[in-house]
Symmetry: C2
Subunit: 239 residues, 2 copies
């Protein structure tokens, strides 16, 4: 624990150390972390200071603690990623699990908008994934994901892709998605949408753009989803 420029509290330095271990895949999903006592001795700080850092990581959902068992690196399971970042549900409140299908995966140079959204360097390559998602057999979402290839080498040769990408990002590439910035607006169904979804041109469509952000702050995915909200709603709790 050496001093940082302009002073960082000890618990912050411990936090940074722990994050780095996870980011570098020293500790992988579902691994057990050393106990508080062990970390305290290793880092030459008190147990209370380690605890404060661990509490922060729990709040950020990067680790989970179970009394009597230990501290574990949180895993992005299918369900978890779904409930955390997939906000569409039935109007009452029941969460729905969509299936994905009809995908196309292409590698190509990034376009101008993608360079900007993902903070890429000119000429960098991306992988574009197009798919349709269905809820109880009915296609309701037409979605295009663009990934920076630098974070996911050869992902375009890994087909078939799972229903939720983020678990694979974490397990195969060590990329932890920790937050997502979404922008929503209402739009009309266009001919391109109508080819994928059973909607008439001119029907209302919820347009969602997402930038997914990894543990190290990099913007790794830009996703545009066009959703039929005649039977689903986008549900979010502000607090």
């Amino acid at each position: 624990m050496d001093a940082a420029p302009h002073y960082r509290p000890l618990y912050r330095q411990v936090y940074d150390f722990l994050v780095k271990q996870i980011a570098d895949s020293v500790w992988r999903p579902n691994d057990t972390l050393p106990s508080e006592q062990a970390l305290a001795e290793q880092l030459r700080v008190s147990q209370g200071t380690v605890r404060k850092a661990l509490d922060t990581l729990v709040a950020e959902k990067l680790i989970e603690r179970r009394q009597g068992k230990g501290t574990f690196v949180a895993e992005h399971t299918q369900e978890r990623a779904l409930f955390r970042f997939f906000r569409l549900s039935e109007p009452g409140g029941e969460r729905t699990v969509p299936t994905s299908s009809d995908e196309s995966v292409k590698r190509r140079p990034a376009k101008a908008a993608e360079l900007r959204k993902l903070h890429l360097d000119a000429g960098e390559q991306v992988v574009e994934i197009v798919r349709t998602r269905s809820v109880s057999g009915r296609p309701v979402i037409y979605e295009r994901s663009v990934l920076a290839l630098r974070h996911f080498p050869d992902i375009d040769r890994r087909q078939p892709l799972p229903n939720t990408l983020y678990a694979m990002f974490q397990q195969q590439y060590g990329v932890n998605i920790v937050s997502a910035e979404e922008e929503l607006r209402a739009d009309l169904t266009r001919a391109e949408d109508a080819r994928r979804l059973p909607l008439a041109v001119g029907a209302p469509l919820l347009h969602i753009e997402r930038v997914a952000i990894a543990l190290d702050g990099s913007r790794v995915e830009w996703r545009v989803s066009r959703c039929d909200t005649s039977h689903l709603v986008y549900a979010v709790t502000l607090s």
Copy 2:
């Protein structure tokens, strides 16, 4: 600090006590709370236990702490309520401050849907507030709020109403809005919308329903907003 059924940790009991003081307006917005030491002595617990409860309240934005000055009950200022619960902004990211106008305020018995959304008893009265919001002179939101009258006696005689209601809820009625559940879907402009907003019937419109939840868990407002998202987006960060 007496025992609770099935055991509540001490810091939880301290938390409950502090929340009650705020909910009962014993401590009002901008008031200074007693110091950690004073609270610890009053409640017969250690300073660390008080601190843990205070940290939770800070995370929930119910209080603010300033080193060297003290601990204060957080105030719902116009700006703060706006940035916290008003998610519409310009596509780039700049937050926009809308003005409200053209309001009508009516007291009437609750309808069936309102009873359900606000968990009211049959026959209870509500106040309906209808208004239009504009951004840089352009009407972009047509909004209908329904409030349970029991939480806001005579609010319908308090006109004119402020741009953001939640600061008034807190200051005039001691009702702290702590979270809001929103449901969004895409819709088309109807004749009723077109009378209020400069849109053609059939143009896309973002339909937002919100239930605002107070500190004690009661559902105090049901709001339906119909938004022109041709120049604005609904922006939210999932984490």
